[in-house]
Symmetry: C2
Subunit: 329 residues, 2 copies
DNA sequence: TTGAAAGCGGTACCAA
DNA sequence: TTGGTACCGCTTTCAA
C-alpha cells in the first residue's frame, strides 16, 4: 500500500498537523519532533503526494520548457542550467518538444500542470503565447526569433555578437569579409547582420558578399562553392552559426582552399561540434549560464505575482578564438 | 476565479455526478445532458483539475521520457512518435534531460508525478532503474547500452544493422573493409561489430582494420588519418554512426582521398546530418516509428497491470543507399 | 507549540 | 439515468 501522512502520524504519535508542518520545515515545531518525523519518513519511504499538495496549494512546483529542436548544443547548455537553478529553488523542470503537432503541447499547457512556462524558440511561439495568455500562466520567451517586442524575452545580444565577430576579423587585418546567415527572417540573423555591418562601417568598409539560407551545413557549403565559381571568395567569412561555419569550411576544403591559411572562418554558438573538428572553429559563444540564471530569476518573480518586467534582457556573448582564423598576410 | 466543476453544475442545473460523468463520456448520461455539459464547459472555459483527478484516481496520465543527450536525430524521431502515440491514448509525455546531476530527475521520479517512465539510454540507466524498481513505477528501456538482459527493453537489431552494412559493402565488391566504432563497451558497438564480422565470415573474410573511440566526428577523423599514415587504409569503411562517418569522410578528404571514388563509407542512424553533406552518407536507418509504437504498446500493457514481457523486442533496421558508397572498381 | 476541522476539485460506489 | 455521499492526501486557518 501507499505510504501516506497517516502512517507517519501513527509512527510518531504526533498529530496530523504537526507532522505536516515538520516535513515542510515549519519553524513552529520542536526540533525533537521534527527529527522524529524525518526519521519516520525515511524509515517508511514516505514521499508526499504531489497531487494532494497541488490540490490545496494551487501550485505544482513544475516549470515547463517548450523547445523546438533538440540538436543544438546551445540549448543543451541552457536546459542543463535551468534544471539546476530551478531545482535549487524547489522547482522541477519538464521539457516538451514541439515540432509539428502542437495539440499535445497545447493540451498540456491548458491543463495547468505547471506553474510557469519557458518558451525556447518553438516554431509557434505566438500560438503558445496566446494559449498561455488565455490561461493566465506566467511565461517568458528565451532566444525568440519572431518579433522583437511584446512579451518579455531573454536573449543574448546578437548584434553585439555580430559586431564582435567581424571586428575580430578586421583586427586580424582582413578587409574583404563575407557573411553567411541562416533564415533571413529570423531575428538572430537580422541582429547579427546589423552588428557585422556596424563593425565594417566603423572603419569605412562594406560587406564584400552576403548570403542567406538555413542554419545548416549545406548553406555554408553551397554558398562558398558558388562564391568560388564566381571568383569572388572573400578573405574571411563570418558564418552566423557553427553549422554554417562547418559547411563553409568543408566547401572551401573541397575546392582546394585551406582554412585558415587561405580563408579565415568564424562561427557562432561555440557548440560542441565547433571543437570536434579540424580546424577547431573560432566562434562567438552565447552566455547560456547567464541566460538561464536570468530566466529563473525572472520566472520566480513572475510566480511571486510580480509584474512582467517591461524591458527585455540582452546578455553579452563572448569570443572564443580557436584555429579557423589567423592573421591576414 | 478558477472555473470548477461547480460552475458547470450551476450552469447546467444537473447534479455534480452527472456533470462529472458527462465530461468523461460515461455512457450512462443522456446525450442531451452530455451536450449541455459540453457546451457549458466550452462557454466557461472549464478545464478539469489534473491534480484533483490524480488525487482520487491515483493516475496522472503522464509518461516521462528520460534522455541523456538531445543532439541525436534518431532520438528526435522517437520522441516525436512517442508524443503522438501516447497522446492518442490519453497520455501526455514529459521529457527529462539527465546529463550529470541526476538528483533533480531522481526527485522527479520519486514524487510519483508520472504513471510510467521510458528510459532512453540515460548515462545511468541502472541507477534510474533501481529508483523506479523501489517506487514500483512501471518502466521500460529503449536503446539501452549496458547489460543485455534484466529489465524489458526495446531496441533496434544492431547486429542485423551491422550485418546489413557490411553485407552491402561486400556486395559492392569490396574485400578490405575497415570498422570504426564508438565506445567499445556500449552494447550497440558490440552488436554492430558482431553483425559486421558475421557478414565477413560468411564469405570467408576477416575485418581489415578495426578501431574504437567515441560516437563523434574526431574518432572517424583521427582513425582514418592514422590508417593512412600507416598505409593501411581499407577499400571501404563501416562507421558505426553518422558522426563517425562524417569525421571519416573529412579525414579522407583532408588526405586527398575522395569519397566514394577512393574509399566508400557507410554510416549508421541515417540522421539528418547524413543528408546535409557532400556526399550524402549511405546509412543504416533505425526503425524509430516502429520502436516508439512498440514502446507505447508495452507501456500501456504495463500500466494496465500486465506483467513485464519477458522477451526483449528487437526491430529490424533498414539500408538507405546514398552517395558515399559505390561499386568497387 | 500543537491540533481540530474545513476544504482543494474530483471520482466512484450504491441507492433511488 | 441520476444523484447523495464518502473519501483521495495534504495544507491552512484558528483556537487551545
Amino acid at each position: 500500500m501507499k505510504v501516506t501522512i497517516n502512517d507517519i502520524v501513527k509512527a510518531t504519535g504526533l498529530s496530523y498537523v504537526t507532522v505536516s508542518k515538520a516535513m515542510r520545515n515549519h519553524p513552529s515545531v520542536k526540533d525533537e519532533n521534527r527529527k522524529k518525523v524525518m526519521d519516520a519518513m525515511k524509515a517508511l519511504g514516505y514521499v508526499p503526494s504531489a497531487a494532494a499538495r497541488t490540490l490545496v496549494t494551487g501550485k505544482t512546483y513544475v516549470i515547463a520548457v517548450m523547445i523546438s529542436e533538440l540538436g543544438d548544443g546551445f540549448y543543451d547548455d541552457i536546459i542543463e542550467a535551468l534544471n539546476r537553478e530551478f531545482f535549487k529553488r524547489g522547482y522541477l523542470v519538464t521539457l516538451h518538444m514541439c515540432k509539428k503537432d502542437d495539440q499535445e503541447n497545447i493540451a498540456f499547457l491548458e491543463q495547468k500542470r505547471v506553474d510557469g512556462v519557458i518558451l525556447m524558440a518553438p516554431y509557434k511561439e505566438v500560438l503558445f503565447a496566446r494559449v498561455l495568455e488565455e490561461q493566465k500562466v506566467p511565461y517568458l520567451i528565451m532566444d525568440h526569433q519572431t518579433r522583437d517586442s511584446q512579451p518579455y524575452t531573454i536573449l543574448s545580444d546578437n548584434q553585439q555578437g555580430g559586431y564582435m565577430a567581424v571586428k575580430y576579423l578586421l583586427d586580424l587585418g582582413f578587409r574583404r569579409i563575407g557573411l553567411i546567415g541562416g533564415e533571413a527572417t529570423s531575428l538572430a540573423t537580422k541582429e547579427r547582420y546589423k552588428g557585422a555591418v556596424k563593425a565594417l562601417e566603423e572603419l569605412g568598409f562594406q560587406t564584400d558578399n552576403t548570403a542567406y539560407g538555413q542554419y545548416d551545413q549545406p548553406t555554408g557549403y553551397q554558398t562558398v562553392q558558388k562564391w568560388i565559381e564566381q571568383d569572388r571568395i572573400p578573405q574571411a567569412i563570418f558564418a552566423f552559426d557553427d553549422h554554417i561555419a562547418l559547411g563553409t569550411i568543408n566547401g572551401l576544403k573541397d575546392c582546394g582552399l585551406k582554412v585558415p591559411e587561405d580563408v579565415s572562418v568564424i562561427g557562432y554558438d561555440d557548440s560542441p561540434m565547433a571543437n570536434q573538428y579540424t580546424p577547431k572553429i573560432t566562434s562567438i559563444r552565447q552566455p547560456a549560464q547567464a541566460m538561464a540564471k536570468k530566466a529563473v530569476e525572472v520566472m520566480i518573480d513572475l510566480l511571486a505575482g510580480g509584474e512582467k518586467p517591461t524591458q527585455n534582457t540582452k546578455l553579452p556573448p563572448s569570443l572564443c578564438i580557436k584555429e579557423s582564423t589567423h592573421l591576414f598576410k
